[in-house]
Amino acid sequence: MPDTLDAPITLADGTDDAPAYPIKRRCPYHMPPGYEELRDKSPISRVTLWNGRVAWLVTGNEVGRRLFPDQRLSSDVLDPRFPLLAPRIEAQRQQAAAPPLVGVDDPVHARQRRMVLPSFGIRQVNALRPVIQRYADELLDKMLAKDPGTTVDLLTEYALPMPSAVICTLLGVPYEDHHYFDERSRHVLSSSGPEQAAQAQQAFTEILTYLDNLISRKQDEPGDTLLDELISRQLEEGKVDRHELAMLATVLLVSGHETTSNMIALSTMALLAHPEQLQALRADESLMPRAVDELMRYASIGDMLMRVAKEDIEIEGHLIKAGDGVILSTMLMNRDPESFERPDELDIHRQAGRHVGFGYGIHQCIGQNLARAEMEIALATLLRRVPTLRLAVPADQIGVNAPFVLQGVTELPVTW
C-alpha cells in the first residue's frame, strides 16, 4: 500500500515525522537546523505548516526534477487547497486575482509567458549588459566617494538599486521613479510577520496603480520598451486586457527587484567568508558565470516552491492525493548528495549546472538570463573596484529574513 499523508505513521526512533515548516535559517546561506534530518528522509517526506496542515516536502533532486514538470501539480494560488507558508500570504490571497505567470497554470500561463518572453532572451540581455555595467559603476562611484572606513549598507546602496534600475529600464518605468518601487517591492516579497500582511498588500496595490497610470501615459506617448511593446502588440490588438497587463507588469517589476538583490548581498557575504575563492574570482573574472551558478545552488534563496495536486500522483511508494499540498525545497534538492559531491561546500569551480535555484518545469525563472548577467556584473565590479571590501560587523550579527519569504539578509553593513 502506498504511503499517504493521512496514513498513520509510526517511527521507531520516536521523532516527529512531520516537523514544523518552514524553518528559519541561522546563517543566511547555510541549511537551517532540521534540514539534515529532512535530507536523511530524502527524496520525499512530510512537514507540518503553521496552521497544522501536513504537506509533502520534496527534497531529492531526481524526484524533484520528475515532479516539477508534472502537470498534475498546479501553481493555482486561488485553489483553496493551495498550501500557504504563513498567514500573511493568506491575506494576500484575498485579492481574488491570481498573480500572472507564477500563480497560474497552462494554458493561461503559456499565453502570458509568450507575451513577455522576447524581452528576456539571451540577445536582449546581452544588449543590456553595458547598461547594467553603467548602473553598477555609478552606484560604486557614489559609495566610494565616502571616506574609507565608513560603514555603508551594501544592500540599499548597491545590491538593491542596481537590479531595480535595470528592470525599470527594461520595462520602461522612468528612472526617477525607481526609488518608489525599491521599498514597495521589498514589502511585497520580503516583509515578515503577520502584522505586515496589510503593508505587503498595500505596497502591491500601489505598484499596480502606478503601472496602470503609466500604461495610460504610454498610450499617449509611446516609447520602445517592453511595456510599450506589450501595449502596441497585445493590448491594442485585444489579446490582453488592461488589468491583466498591469498585473503582469507588476509581477515582473517586483520579481526583478528583490530576488537578484538578495543574491548579490548573499553572494558577497558568502565569498567574503571564503577568501581563497574570492581571490580566485578577482584574479580571473572568466570564472564568474560558473561561480554565479554555484552561488545560486549554495544559497537557494527561493527555497520553497508550493504546488497543489490536482490529481492523485504515485511516486516512490507515496500516494500524493488530489488536494494535497506539495512543497519543493530547492535548497534540499540543490544539496542532494546524490547529485552534488560535498553538497554543503561552496566550490566556485564545480559544474553546478543541475541546480534548481531558478526552479524547473514550466515556471522556471523567466528572468534567469537577466539575473545571471546582473549577478556577474555586480559581483565582478564590486570585487574589482573595492579590493579591501569587508563586513563592518561580525557575520553572525547580520539579520536573516523570515523563513517563509525569499531568503536574504535584512542589511549588509560593509566597509573598505
Partner: protein
C-alpha cells in the same frame, strides 16, 4: 543522432542555447530552435546535457544508425 525541439512545449528558458550555442539558438519570439544543418548535434559533446537540462523536456534526441 537527430535533435528536435517541440516548440509547443518550449518555455524559452534558453538553457539549451546557453549550454550548446553551436547547436541551439533562440528565435525572435524567445523560443529555441535547432540551428539549420546542426540537427545531428555537430559533434558537440554537451548536447545530451542540454536535453537533460531542459526544464520541460522539449528536446528529443533520436538515435540514427550513425551517430
Amino acid at each position: 543522432m537527430h535533435i528536435s525541439i517541440d516548440s509547443n512545449r518550449c518555455i524559452g528558458s534558453a538553457q539549451c542555447a546557453v549550454t550548446v550555442p553551436a547547436v541551439f539558438e533562440q528565435d525572435e519570439d524567445g523560443l529555441s530552435t535547432v540551428i539549420a544543418g546542426r540537427e545531428d548535434g555537430a559533434g558537440q559533446p554537451l548536447v545530451r546535457e542540454a536535453a537533460r537540462a531542459c526544464p520541460v523536456q522539449a528536446i528529443t534526441l533520436t538515435e540514427t544508425d550513425r551517430t
